[in-house]
Each structure stands twice: as C-alpha cells, then as structure tokens.
C-alpha cells in the first residue's frame, strides 16, 4: 500500500513538484498500478543480461561538433558563452 507520504517522498526524489491537492489522485492511481505490478512476484526464472553487443567505443579523438553558439542557443540564460544554472549551494 503506497501512502500519500510515500508519493510526496517519491515526488521529492524525482524533483517533480507535487501540490498537496494532487496527492490524493496520484496516490489512488499509484496504488492501482502498483497492485497490477505485483503480478511480477510470481515470475519464475533467472535474470540474464542478453548481450549481443557491448562496449562499442570509438577512439578518443576530437571530431567536428556543435559550435558554442549552436550549443547554447536553446539555453534559458547564458553569460559570457556559459549556460547559467540555478545555484546548487
């Protein structure tokens, strides 16, 4: 059973921003879906990773890329050729 408190916590972890008035609806939907997921408890077998391809890497050499102007054109805010972000500290 997922509680409103759980949903609030998950919303925090996911940085999704939940309003208090949304909690009841999201919690109800969450419970119905998670209850359906519980069918997976009955799955039998071993988990194996199916790897036909792995570690496909290229040489670490400089190749043509976006210009500074192209790379920053969609940013919300820029300063001196840098992208501005909210403060972390």
């Amino acid at each position: 059973m997922v509680t409103e408190k759980d949903v609030e916590h998950i919303g925090e972890l996911a940085d999704i921003g939940i309003d208090t008035c949304e909690l009841a609806t999201f919690t109800g939907q969450f419970n119905a879906i998670v209850e359906y997921f519980d069918i997976l408890d009955r799955v039998k077998g071993e988990g194996t990773v199916n790897r036909d391809l792995f570690n496909i890497l290229r040489e670490d050499t400089v190749e043509p890329s976006l210009s500074l102007e192209e790379a920053t054109r969609n940013a919300g805010a820029t300063e001196d050729g840098y992208i501005k972000a909210p403060r972390v500290m």
Partner: protein, 434 residues
Amino acid sequence: MESRTICFEPDDRYNAFLRTCPTAPHGEGQLAGVAIAVKDNISTRGIETTCASRILKGYVPPYDAHAVSLIRDAGAAIAGKTNMDEFGMGTSTENSAFGPTLNPCDPSRVPGGSSGGSAAAVAAGMVPMALGTDTGGSIRCPAAFCGIVGLKPTYGRVSRYGLIAYANSLETIGPMAQNVADVSLLMSVIAGPDRKDTTSYDRPYNHTPDSDINGVKIGIPKEYFGKGVDPAIAESVNRAIGRLEELGAVSVPCSIPSMEYALAAYYVICTSEASSNLARFDGVRYGPAADTKKSWHAAYQDVRKEGFGPEVRRRIMLGTFALSAGYYGKYYAKAQVARENVRKDFTRLFADVDVICGPTMPTIAFKLKEKSDPLSMYLSDILTVPVNLAGIPAISVPCGKVQGMPVGLQIMGRPFEDERVVDVAYAYEQAVKV
C-alpha cells in the same frame, strides 16, 4: 543538396501536425519531392521539436536525427512535425500538451498513440509517408486504429540518434504509410548502421516486397485471441489468417505463456528508463528557463511541475519508485526476468514457425476521453509490448473493419527478418486489394 521546394499547406482538421513547413525544401534521390511527416520526438535541424510537451516549447534542435538526415539525403521534403502523446507516453495521442489528434476514420475517436499525428496525417492523405516511433506499440497501434501500415523494425536496425529518449532499451524509429510498398521503401532509406548509436547494427534493408508466401509457417498464439480481445476483432484477424492460408501459408496454434507478465514488466522497465532519461529536462539547457535566483531543487521542481503533463509526471514517479532502494528487487529486477522469459518464448516459437500473427490491438479505436483511468489505458497495450521486450520486428496491416473502424493484423518475425514480415503483409494486402 536541397535545391527545390514543395508547397505544403494541408487542411489539418484532425490536429495531426504541431507545425508544418509551408515551403519545404527537397533534393534528388529515391524520395525526391516526397512530403514526409516526422513525429515530434525526432530531432529536425532548424525545426522546433517539442515531444508535444510544454517543457520543450521553443526548442530548435541544432542537428538532425540520423533517420532525418537519411530521408533528406534521399530527396524527401520534411512536411512538418506531428502530434503525439507527450514524450511518447500514451496510447491515444490525448496526452499531448497541444490538444488531441482526431481519428480521420471517425473524428469522435482517438487515432491511437503515441504516433497518432503521423498516422492521422497519412490516413487523411496529407502525406504519403511518415516517421513514427514505437516503444510499446506506438507505431502499430495508431496504424491499426487509422487503417494504415506501420512497421516497428528490429531493435538496432534503425539508428536512434536524435530520437529524444523515453525508454531507450525498447524504442525505435520506424516507417508508416498508406501501403506496404511505401513502408518498405521508407525502411530501405532509414535502416543501416550509425556510429553515433552504439546499439545500431550493420544490417541495411534493401528489399522489394515479394507476395509469394507459399510454405510460410505462421504461429497463432492463443493469448492473442483470449480474454480482453474483442471477439469481432479476433474474427476479423482469423479471416485474414485464412486468406494467408489460401495463399499457401500454413498456420499452427502456439502459446506465449510469458505474456501474462509482459505488460507489467513493460511498464516497470519503461517508467524506470523514463525516470532517468527525463531527468535532463531541467530548464537549463533547453525549454522554458529555470529561475536562476532560486535554489537548484526549487527551480528544477517549478520547471518540471509546470512543463510536464500529468502522465509524464506519473511515469517519472512510478519509475523512481520501481528503482528505489527496497523496491528494486521486487519490481525492476523481476521485470528484467520477465523480459528475458518473453524473449525466450519468441526464440522457442521461431525455431518452428516463420512468423507469428494476431491482432495489433484488442479493440477498435476508442472514443475520445473514454479511457480516463491510467491503468485501463495501459491494458490496451497488451498485444504490442511483447515485441518491444524481445526487440523483434512487427508490422500492422489493415484487415477489415469492425463497426466501420479499421482493424490491424499484426505480423511478428525473427530478429532482423523485417523483410519477411513485410512480405507477409504485402501478400495479404495484394490479395485483398480491390
């Protein structure tokens, strides 16, 4: 070289397009001057690309997706960007931030999703071909609901470079068109290796559809005709299989026991991948700007609450939950076992049969707003998600009507045998052509 232009100003009464290119340049080649619609989660240089989300409003990609580069090189004109469920999350195209697309066969019904705009644009005759993407049925479902043809290629056969990621272990770009020959033609242009997508294979598609299916062995899984599937749909698909038998194919009953867990496994995996992939939308590098005066988490949460629609927020939270400490083993790890079991079931069946056939969707297109509860919408994907879990190719081709609405015959094949599913679809299409 793009040197000439076409004029593209369609009567878009179904809201199939989010934006059109009234003067679309094109070059020479296999697709010279052909107007192609591109789903809005596929990057197009210089053309706004939003994934039908407010969080990407105004985003103009500085580069083309590999598949888009290939169709431009083949001479195609990019006619516009098509509507979809936000980030591909939905089965009806109702989860678009810019309003739903309507089904051209009956505008009171949904076109299916998430590539509903691409399907409606083709079905309404606005374009002959379109690119869609398929994570859990998003090409095949709208193809079935709108009465067109859609191919979900083998995973790795078409580069995902420039496809804005939602669930990258499941999704692929693929062709949609009014007929099988055009789907095959578009597939021949977009398939092949790409060093910018490390999961792409060097398996080009150079194929002309062949209607000779004499001796082809078809598996008919009982799970595709059981509980939850409208009996009228099952009857229509059975008639189509009968037609394939008249053409020389042989059908045998079979079973996919792992189907019981496939839908839950699919939703655990796709939401988990979404929770990681969509973390990049933070209002810093693209989309509506974050308030840089606020703290990181406060600014991030404001942007995402405002920018993402309810279904996207729900799936990000479900994925965060499924991957969180204490629940990972119960959900994500189990879902991976279930996924492997689906793959094993297909491998076992394909040792004996060449293709597997069943309905694409369990019902005809539903009415707008008919499925307001998220879980009931998810359950509609039951017949399409096994293919994505296994990474195999599958095509949906129209096979009659129920209550005046199109029904899709789904043909699934072995990995990298996209040609064979195309041939079986082509044989059926040619046989019923009036």
